[in-house]
Each structure stands twice: as C-alpha cells, then as structure tokens.
Amino acid sequence: MSEKLVFDAPEIMIDRPTHYCPGCHHGVAHRLVGEVLTEMGLVDDTLCVGSIGCSVFIYNYLDVDAVEAPHGRAPAVATGLKRAHKDKFVFTYQGDGDLASIGLAEIVHAANRGEKISVVFVNNTVYGMTGGQMAPTTLVGQKSTTCPDGRCADEHGQAIRMSEIIGGLGGTAYCERVSLDSVKNIRRAKKALRKAFEMQINGTGFGFVEMLSACPTNWKMDPVSANTRITEEMIPYFPLGVFKDVTKDGEE
C-alpha cells in the first residue's frame, strides 16, 4: 500500500513555531500567502513589506526577502520598492491598527495611484500587539482596553469598512473581503489572494484582500469562541465579497 502526502506545510514556511497565541489567525494568513507564492512560482522574486503589529516578525516565518516598514507606512515603502524593482513581486502584510488607523493615508493613496502592489490586510478589530486597544475597525459595543464599556458610535464613530473604501478608488484593480473562520472561507481566501496577486503579475494594478481574523487573546475568548465570533458578529457587519474587479467590469 503506497500513500501520498496530501497536505503539508509549504517549503517557503520556515520550520519554527510561531510566537502567535493559540488560535491566532495570523498563522493561517501567513500559510495562505506562502502557498499562493509557491503555486504562482514567485518565491524567488518576492519582496515582503512587513508592518507593525503582531505580524512584525513575518520575516521569521516566510522565507522571502523582506523590508520592515515604519508603522502604517508599508504601502509607501512598497511603492518605492516596486517602482525601483519592476521585475519583483511586492506585497505588504498589515493589521487593522496599522492600515486603517496610523496608515490610512498611505493605503488610500497607494490604492488611488494604482500602484502595482498587493496588500494582505488582516482585520482582527483590535490593536493586538499592544494589548487590545480600540482600532478604527472595532465593532460598536465591542469592549477594549480603551473603551472598557464597549465602543460607542456617538463618541467613537462606527467601525470603518476598509474594503468598501478601497474598492471605491479609481486605482484599485481588485478588492475582496474574505474570512478565515471556516474551511470553506479559508479556501475562498486563498483564491482571493491568487486573484489579487495576478493583478500585479499581469501589470493590471493594485490588489487588496481583507481577511476577517481572530485575536482570541485581546477579545478575551477561547480560540473556538473567537472563531465563532467572526461568523456571528464580524461577517454580518463586514460583508464578504468582491468590491472591485477590473477584469469583470462591464460584464454584468
């Protein structure tokens, strides 16, 4: 009887345990990026732009060349890298505090300029690394260290929906929101990454994938309940789907 290995860690993933908490979705997001880079044959031509947040050590896990950007500035760093190295595949990997708060200007303008880069946006509705402060993406009613009674719409505004904003910009070629809460959604997330990455390879333009993710530690939940929170609370507010696809425009 011969057997075949049908699932294993992609070779691009460095064989070392991650520093992430149990049930943290950064691990799933890293693996999906690694699988897609591998399947698209991009491993040797990739420049990863890391950001500030729990994923700051992404270069310890993905075996590609990497630059660490100052907080929020990954799209600006990626812009420079891509313009100087047009033959390289350049992507940023950013959390919601990084991308939607301090880095809001950089992401919006990079998308609007139609930079030929790809953005992996991990939205876990908090500042994970610094201990769970409110982020622009924190849901109304959600408790955090800086809104211990829950986010209040009157005082703090509502949670910002980044994919809707990025999808509405002229320079964006592809924009999709996916979720990492189920096997079906994880498969979908991988397809979305591939689509966004293809937009850069084909020279079409800016690609953006938002991944709804769990931060069990700062949500003060066990990993299984945190995963369920994505399904029950996040997806209803942050609808999944494609917000822009220039290769489809005009078809419907």
């Binding site: 057997e3 049908v6 699932f7 860690a9 799933v28 693996r31 189920s182 995963n227």
Partner: protein
Amino acid sequence: MARVEFREERCKGCMLCSTVCPKKIICQSSRFNQQGYKVAEVKAEDMENCTGCTSCALICPDLVIKVYREEKKEK
C-alpha cells in the same frame, strides 16, 4: 484509508481542528508539549475513520497537521 500526523511540538491546543473534522475524531490529549500546550491527537483506534479531507490541516494556524491518503491503485 487515510491518516493524519501531528507535529506535536508546534501544537498550541487551540482545538480549531476538532471543530471542523467531519468524523469528530480529534480530541485534546493530556500530554503537554515543550511550549506548555496540551496537544491535539487522534487516537490510534479512531484513525481508520479519517477520510483525509484535510479540513483540520487547513484551519490549523500552526502548521501542525500532515495528511496522508492511500494512492488509488492503477488498473
């Protein structure tokens, strides 16, 4: 026939894998790994029920699980 292999030293005991297994054969052992987590396992007597669907491996954030399937015999 299929089977899974856990790289126990990487497991963090989050048990997300057990929530997606269609055969409900993944459970938490009483063993701790070096990181201090109680690791997930499939008991030897339950392994024959594994379908090799890879769901557990796809949801595992820590690249713990390898999945093997028996190759189809050629005619």
